[in-house]
């Protein structure tokens, strides 16, 4: 198959050349931050590091880390490296795990971010002939604006749908013949479900590819979406702190996401010791923004656990690949002392023939954690016999116990009874109040 790239020279650049470029950018960036961000200068001073100590990417490990706590402390302007007069945009996180993060962008920052998203769209097979339906939320959330900008750069006809109003999404998808869908994987699954309910088959819609991210999803979920929508589903990764979606993206191989290394320098560290781990080892992903002007984070700890690989990719890109994060430390629940990732529950559901429509409810009664999982039953699964429904609940609970090591109480519920926020699915309700 002929390979297409948005910025071929960078995407297929020999690794040594790429690293040289990264080194040059890093030296400049460290100086820019040191001179313009007193907060980070203080961290460097504390470690006794000056910009002169960083002569290339080999010196990256000398720099101090930034964490989400730093972003909180420095809110809102503490990590800003450009005068506000030079900034043209902010984007912000949902603030579900503490105080919201506000990131600033200059026009150049927006441009480079949109380039990254354009690379993802082209890697998913997008061209100027395509109709790209962006069903990520628009506004403060980076999903909509990022893919919207990328779609413009590729020259696709862009449908700026934002999330929600599924009926209208489907109407536009059919009437305007959308070929690429960009949204969260849970929303893609929901759109697929709704189409199926309407008796619509994959061949009835012209959709060929989807770019899905902003929340964890599994390989099983990918297969489900690919089947119901009749498309190839590509993963995309990003975080507001570094720009938004497009930090990394999947190519036709669908075996991990190429990191846009010319803009984002990636490291894997041991989350306990902070020590840099060699390629191929599992640890916390850390990013250094090499080109960001307004909000240039150096060594930002993402809390995402994953693995990097420089194995040669059949798509021809030389950019390093990151595996799908095994879970964000934020998503991880500790229930009765056991680590539980919602993605594990999802895997069990898909293996057992259920849709990944579930909600985990954790509470505490008599000093013990309670662990309930509500799962939507499909019309085909419903039977008129109570004993059958109870058996299904029991067998799901057993499968989850095998995966997690602890026993949940599984409750089958009616379809669509679990509230979907049409942006990110609310998968976890933790009612534990620990003083």
């Amino acid at each position: 198959m002929e390979q297409r790239y948005f910025q071929k020279e960078i995407e297929t650049m020999p690794v040594e050349e790429l690293q040289k470029l990264q080194s040059e950018k890093l030296v400049k960036q460290v100086r820019h931050v040191y001179e313009n961000v007193p907060y980070y200068k203080a961290l460097m001073d504390e470690k006794g590091i000056t910009p002169d100590d960083v002569r290339g990417i080999a010196d990256l490990h000398k720099l101090p880390f930034l964490t989400k706590a730093d972003l909180r402390d420095a809110y809102p302007y503490g990590l800003l490296a450009k005068p506000l007069a030079d900034c043209v945009r902010i984007q912000s996180t949902s603030g579900t795990t503490g105080r919201r993060v506000v990131a600033f962008y200059t026009q150049k920052d927006v441009d480079l971010w949109e380039d990254c998203c354009a690379r993802a769209i082209v890697a998913a097979g997008g061209t100027k002939e395509d109709v790209c339906q962006v069903a990520y939320g628009y506004g403060l959330f980076t999903g909509g604006p990022g893919l919207n900008g990328g779609s413009h750069k590729v020259g696709c006809l862009t449908l700026p749908m934002s999330s929600g109003n599924t009926e209208r999404q489907i109407q536009f998808m059919q009437d305007l013949k959308a070929t690429i869908l960009c949204c969260t994987p849970s929303y893609a699954a929901y759109i697929g479900e709704t189409l199926k309910e309407q008796g619509c088959k994959p061949e009835d819609i012209p959709l060929k590819a989807g770019i899905f991210g902003a929340e964890p999803w599994t390989e099983e979920m990918r297969r489900g979406i690919e089947e119901t929508l009749g498309i190839r589903a590509y993963d995309i990764y990003g975080l507001t702190e570094t720009s938004g979606p497009g930090v990394a993206f999947e190519c036709c191989e669908q075996t991990g996401m190429h990191i846009n290394e010319d803009h984002f320098l990636a490291e894997i560290i041991d989350p306990e010791t902070g020590e840099v781990l060699p390629e191929g080892e599992k640890g916390e992903l850390v990013f250094t923004s090499l080109d960001k002007e307004a909000f240039p984070l150096l060594r930002y700890r993402t809390r995402d656990i994953c693995v990097l690989s420089r194995k040669k990719c059949s798509c021809g890109r030389t950019l390093i690949k990151m595996a799908k994060p095994m879970g964000r430390t934020d998503d991880m629940l500790i229930i009765r002392g056991v680590n539980v990732f919602p993605s594990q529950i999802e895997t069990v559901l898909l293996n057992e023939g259920y849709q990944p429509n579930y909600q985990i409810i954790v509470d505490r009664a008599k000093n013990t954690d309670t662990f309930d999982v509500n799962v939507e039953m499909s019309p085909e699964q419903f039977t008129d016999k109570v004993s059958d429904v109870l058996k299904m609940e029991k067998s799901l609970a057993n499968a989850m116990k095998t995966m997690l090591g602890i026993n949940p109480a599984v409750h089958l519920v009616a379809p669509k009874s679990i509230v979907r926020s049409e942006g990110k699915a609310v998968r976890v309700i933790d009612k534990r109040k620990l003083v």
Binding site: M377, P379, F382, T383, D384, K385, V386, S387, V389, L390, H411, L412, V413, A414, P415, K416, S417
Partner: protein, 143 residues
């Protein structure tokens, strides 16, 4: 021969049954018989109605989980021991009854029993051979 039972999945929450019956009433569906099996979390509503197609349509449109299943309806005399003799027939034929419920006829001195079994045909044959009168969809509509 078998009659159709409408089965509705409902959460075990206040007001769920009334919302189902209300929906049926508003659409002119008459309930002939009704039974509920409940657990802590959910209930399964079993209904014999005059127009199960209409009932299925309105409830499905409202997002309810619905399943229509074939059940056996048998007419028995309204006196002590009649239900037992019908169940005896099934027992001797080695037919397991998953659940059953009964309702009274309006005018005649009869009761009707709705039986959920694995093999409808076998149950029907056994009951008929023992002289029981099975009820049909037509009988339900005449009720």
């Amino acid at each position: 021969m078998a009659i159709q039972q409408l089965t509705v999945f409902v959460q075990n929450k206040k007001g769920t049954v009334v919302s189902v019956t209300d929906m049926l009433a508003k659409n002119n569906v008459n309930i002939r018989a009704l039974s509920i099996a409940e657990t802590e979390d959910f209930g399964i509503l079993r209904l014999i109605v005059n127009d199960e197609k209409a009932a299925e349509k309105v409830l499905t449109a409202q997002g309810y989980l619905i399943k229509t299943v074939d059940v056996v309806g048998v007419k028995i005399g309204d006196e002590p021991g009649k239900l037992t003799s019908a169940l005896d027939v099934l027992d001797k034929a080695d037919i397991n009854v998953e659940y059953l419920y009964a309702f009274m006829a309006r005018t005649e001195r009869h009761a009707y029993v709705v039986l959920r079994v694995e093999e409808n045909a076998a149950a029907e044959a056994a009951l008929e051979a023992a002289g029981f009168h099975l009820i049909t969809e037509a009988d339900i509509n005449k009720l």
